[in-house]
């Protein structure tokens, strides 16, 4: 809104560079003022404990100055670019067909890279470094890619806004932890069970709430996510509350445990024991799981259910006039999305080093993060969701690597503290640059002569 108003002002300014520049400076000064107002309470003052254990106020005016200056310059540059662009920015029309081979090549390169990734990491940074690059980066990212793809079915395809998706992730995780600790079942048996249980809960939640639309559905799903977490916290007998369930068995290589014994994986294959074997194995497991999620989704898009999901997103009334049972259609979307969430949850437990699960992992923040991945990536776009997951999850992990920033901002500067700030900034920027996500076009599921992408602004967002 504000941006539009500013555009008009710049355009209305008296012809000539001087007028435009003056208007832009004025506008940018306003932005700087706003930045000052915002950064003053957040950045300028900080409470700290001194040696005597007293609380003292630490003043950091240089931080405020940097933030205000940055805001001013960014806004000024943005406005000047708009004012002096040779022509008004043309409406972005999807370049159809032409860029398709490029995209396909990129996808193929990506898949190839993924397949050799662990060994590439080993070769480049050695064993110690590789564990970090595989575990913290690749496995984390792939879990979120899978969660994003699962939620994409519900939000992106069927157009149902679900703010409590983490509930199904939690159900999958707890299903595995409980089944494993009570019935002594292994990962591979629990994996399908976790998926089925999550899908079952998806249907159970779906039945009463799917008659709600839009905001109401969003609120009820939000509540459901919180209920699951609170149950996990408070049903101490079953879940051990905040302490969580630990000692969940780790994934085995089809029965061969990753341990330093004669029955272990390394001994069986005549290798020297190394913890990285397990990490690499987990990498391929989640890669396979994500690949299956993608395959199923792409396949379903070309089947009547998938088309009905998208039609539902476009116009529910029209669907009913064509004899589509919209309740069942929504339930299948919910159940399937929940199932993938549950599978990811099961994997999550086994991928954690100590094999334990606590309620803290399933806060609303997690739901919001997954939803952000779907929205930023582009509703309904598989590639877009994957890109967004890499950027958001990989980006926050990368912050841990930015030790060199300490040399600029001082010893006690901790880049990870700014995670949320940068996260928000990234979201705002993407939404300005591409309001419908990184990949906003929709690829038709069937064609007569030529498959041409559908412009994002025509595609519906669903009403719940």
């Amino acid at each position: 809104m504000a941006t539009q108003a500013a555009d008009v002002r710049v355009a209305d300014a008296p012809r000539g560079r001087a007028g435009a520049i003056a208007a832009a400076v004025k506008d940018a000064s306003g932005t700087a003022l706003l930045a000052l107002g915002l950064s003053f309470p957040i950045l300028a003052l900080r409470t700290e404990q001194n040696m005597a254990n007293q609380l003292v106020l630490d003043q950091r005016w240089s931080y405020v100055a940097i933030a205000v200056l940055l805001a001013f310059l960014a806004r000024l540059l943005y406005l000047l670019r708009l004012a002096f662009a040779a022509s008004p920015p043309a409406p972005r029309i999807a370049a159809p067909a032409a860029d398709r081979p490029a995209l396909r090549l990129l996808t193929m390169a990506g898949v190839l890279l993924l397949l050799v990734y662990p060994f590439l990491a080993l070769a480049l940074v050695g064993r110690a470094g590789a564990i970090k690059w595989i575990d913290n980066f690749a496995i984390q990212i792939l879990i979120y890619v899978m969660l994003g793809w699962g939620l994409n079915i519900v939000v992106g395809l069927a157009g149902l806004l679900d703010l409590g998706y983490v509930a199904f992730y939690a159900i999958g995780a707890y299903a595995f932890a409980l089944l494993a600790s009570h019935y002594d079942l292994g990962f591979w048996v629990c994996l399908p069970l976790a998926g089925i249980l999550a899908a079952f809960w998806g249907v159970l939640l779906g039945f009463p709430v799917l008659r709600l639309r839009g905001d109401y559905l969003a609120i009820v799903t939000l509540a459901f996510g919180e209920i699951i977490r609170l149950v996990a916290i408070n049903w101490v007998d079953l879940t051990r509350g905040y302490a969580g369930i630990s000692g969940v068995p780790r994934a085995t290589f089809f029965g061969l445990p990753f341990e330093d014994s004669d029955q272990g994986f390394a001994a069986f294959f005549g290798l020297e024991f190394a913890t990285i074997h397990r990490t690499i194995f987990l990498f391929y497991v989640i890669l396979l799981m994500a690949a299956i999620t993608n395959w199923v989704t792409l396949r379903l898009r070309r089947l009547p259910v998938g088309r009905a999901w998208e039609a539902l997103r476009e116009d529910e009334t029209a669907c009913r006039s064509l004899g589509i049972n919209t309740t069942n259609t929504k339930l299948t979307a919910f159940a399937l999305g929940a199932m993938f969430g549950g599978l990811a949850g099961c994997f999550y437990v086994t991928s954690r080093g100590q094999g334990f699960v606590t309620p803290e992992s399933f806060t609303f923040m997690e739901s919001a993060l997954i939803l952000a991945i779907v929205v930023l990536g582009g509703l309904g776009s598989q590639v877009g969701v994957a890109i967004a997951a890499v950027v958001l999850i990989g980006g926050t992990e990368l912050l841990r690597e930015l030790d060199w920033t300490k040399s600029i901002f001082g010893r006690d500067f901790e880049p990870t503290h700014y995670r949320m700030l940068l996260f928000g900034l990234a979201m705002v920027l993407v939404m300005i640059w591409k309001p419908r996500g990184v990949i906003s076009t929709r690829i038709p599921s069937i064609f007569l002569k030529q498959r041409r992408a559908v412009r994002g602004d025509l595609v519906g967002e669903g009403h719940g």
Binding site: R307, A318, S321, N325, I446
Partner: protein, 301 residues
């Protein structure tokens, strides 16, 4: 014209209230098989509400609506009514009590298709996809409720080819075959209206309900529409229920006209009979009887 066909749809004592507003007041009429039955009336007369009741989008306050694809027999209707069920399957002779069925069941089982006064396409899907979605139920069955289709069973692939052929046929009929791969939201207004009719026809309905299909069309498109509707009626065992304000369309192609005003039926008969009914003219133009003759001439033009 041949001997009068049996009624396909009979509406009896239909009443629909919205709070204190009586949108339909004790309306009875029937639509015969193979006919184009027009429902006309001034704005707000309750025409769209009748459609919404027939297609299950509204639950009527009272009244019954019977759709009988086969021979209509009163004992059978009485028996079905007493049984408490909404429909009777094909092997016993199909019969549907529409007021007991939900919207999608009416479309799926009773084979009643409809279009909307304010067009409702799937704008972000291509023209072809719109027509494939319309064949959802047949394709769903062929895909073994998704399970067979997921693994690419040949039966499903064949069914999809058949569905595409049917879509192509209708795209040809409404002159949209060249735009099959364009998003429906990109089509001009007239083409969207035609696409909506094609989409409804892809469900292979026995009753097609059209809510103001000629609204916003230019005279050429209007003429094409008349030809299309006539051919749907003759070539495709599909009866038509038509709401329309454009009198040239109504008078030219309909076999039977029902006139509503304030939710009540004020006239019912052949186009000629209705055209000459002073009550109709008065309702339409809100004039006194003395002026009727003068206005009549204008309408008849």
């Amino acid at each position: 014209m041949a001997a009068p066909a049996a009624p396909l749809l009979t509406v009896e004592h239909l009443t629909m209230r919205f709070g204190g507003l009586v949108a339909i007041d004790d309306l009875s009429f029937s639509a015969r098989r193979g006919d184009i039955t027009a429902v006309i009336g001034p704005n707000g007369a309750g025409k769209t509400t009748v459609f919404n009741c027939v297609t299950g989008f509204y639950k009527p306050t009272s009244g019954c609506m019977v759709l009988s694809p086969g021979e209509r027999s009163d004992p059978a209707i009485a028996q079905l009514t007493a049984s408490g069920r909404g429909w009777r399957a094909a092997r016993a002779g199909e019969l549907f009590l529409l007021e007991r069925m939900r919207d999608f069941q009416i479309a799926r089982r009773a084979k009643v298709a409809r279009t909307f006064q304010n067009i409702r396409l799937f704008p972000g899907m291509t023209v072809l996809e719109n027509l494939i979605v319309a064949q959802h139920n047949a394709l769903m069955r062929a895909s073994g409720w998704t399970i067979l289709g997921l693994f690419g069973a040949p039966g499903y692939r064949k069914a999809e080819r058949v569905a595409v052929e049917r879509a192509k046929y209708w795209l040809d009929r409404v002159a949209l075959i060249d735009r099959a791969d364009d998003p429906a939201g990109d089509l001009p207004y007239g083409a969207q209206r035609r696409l909506e009719i094609a989409r409804a026809m892809c469900t292979e309905p026995q009753l097609l309900c059209l809510d103001e299909p000629a609204a916003g069309l230019n005279p050429r498109e209007s003429a094409d529409l008349k030809a299309l509707l006539t051919s749907i009626k003759t070539e495709h065992a599909t009866s038509i229920l038509l709401i329309e304000h454009d009198m040239s369309v109504v008078m030219e192609i309909s076999d039977h006209v029902v006139v509503l005003d304030y939710g009540q039926k004020i006239s019912d008969g052949t186009p000629d009979a209705v055209r000459n009914d002073p009550k109709v003219v008065a309702a339409y133009l809100g004039v006194e009887d003395e002026e009727v003759e003068q206005v009549e001439a204008e309408i008849a033009r």
